[in-house]
């Protein structure tokens, strides 16, 4: 794979299609030689980013699609997940399982935390519609998290 190759995917804003992006990303990472562990991490991060784009960014609007751009360089795979929303305002925060177990915190709200915990870099960008995205990076030389 030449450094700089990129693959683009467009998904409908429909839950379930995050699995298609997940497979695409997994196979791209496999081509690059990432270990199975790291590929599993990437799969979960990409799935969560797509779910957020589908649910929150595009609000399940059938007329909008989610863009996924996978770009390789020598030692990293960068995945951008783009939606038509106005982006994320909040920073990811670690779930508090005790508060969740006592009903003091929504049992949900773990997606951004998992994304950030599973990849080497995760950045959320607010932009005009069609330009809000989260950018994920996994690096080949960092085989353990």
């Amino acid at each position: 794979m030449k450094s700089g190759s990129s693959v683009q995917v467009r998904l409908p804003s429909e839950l379930g299609f995050e699995k298609v992006a997940m497979s695409t990303a997994a196979s791209m990472a496999a081509l690059m030689g990432f270990s199975e562990d790291r590929i599993e991490d990437l799969k979960t991060a990409v799935a969560e980013a797509c779910i957020n784009a589908i649910e929150h960014g595009n609000q399940l609007n059938n007329g909008l699609s989610v863009g996924v751009v996978l770009s390789t360089s020598d030692d990293e795979l960068v995945v951008k997940v783009i939606d038509d929303g106005t982006g994320v305002r909040n920073a990811p925060h670690a779930p508090d399982i005790d508060r969740k177990m006592h009903g003091d915190e929504d049992p949900r709200g773990m997606g951004m935390f998992l994304i950030q915990a599973l990849v080497d870099e995760a950045e959320w960008h607010q932009g005009p519609p069609g330009k809000s995205f989260v950018r994920l990076v996994i690096r080949l030389d960092k085989e353990s998290q």
Binding site: P95, I97, D98, G111
Partner: protein, 119 residues
Amino acid sequence: MQVTTKVSERTAAAASGGAVTILAFAGDISSASKDAILGAYHGLNGGATKILLDFTGVDYINSSGIAIVIQMLLEAGKSGTQSVGIFGLSPHFQKVFTMVGINKYAAMHKDEATALAAA
């Protein structure tokens, strides 16, 4: 399109004696799994105090699905009599469940034999 979750119930003998109720999941664990998982849990007979969740047949779990598992653990915790254990997760999802802290409220085991030995 989300893949449906299938839940089947079976009983096994705990090493410490007594019966363990196993809820075995198959398919995906996602936001679409709420009725299947909580429905199966609510349908358990009142005497079920030792519960094991079997994830062997599951290969996709997302954070909305994990939230449903937490919801079930919360209800089990409230009951005051039920203990819940987990087995059959891949190493990746064992890590993910640990990251969100589920291991604090549900013992995680590699497989059914280990889970029953501890039950």
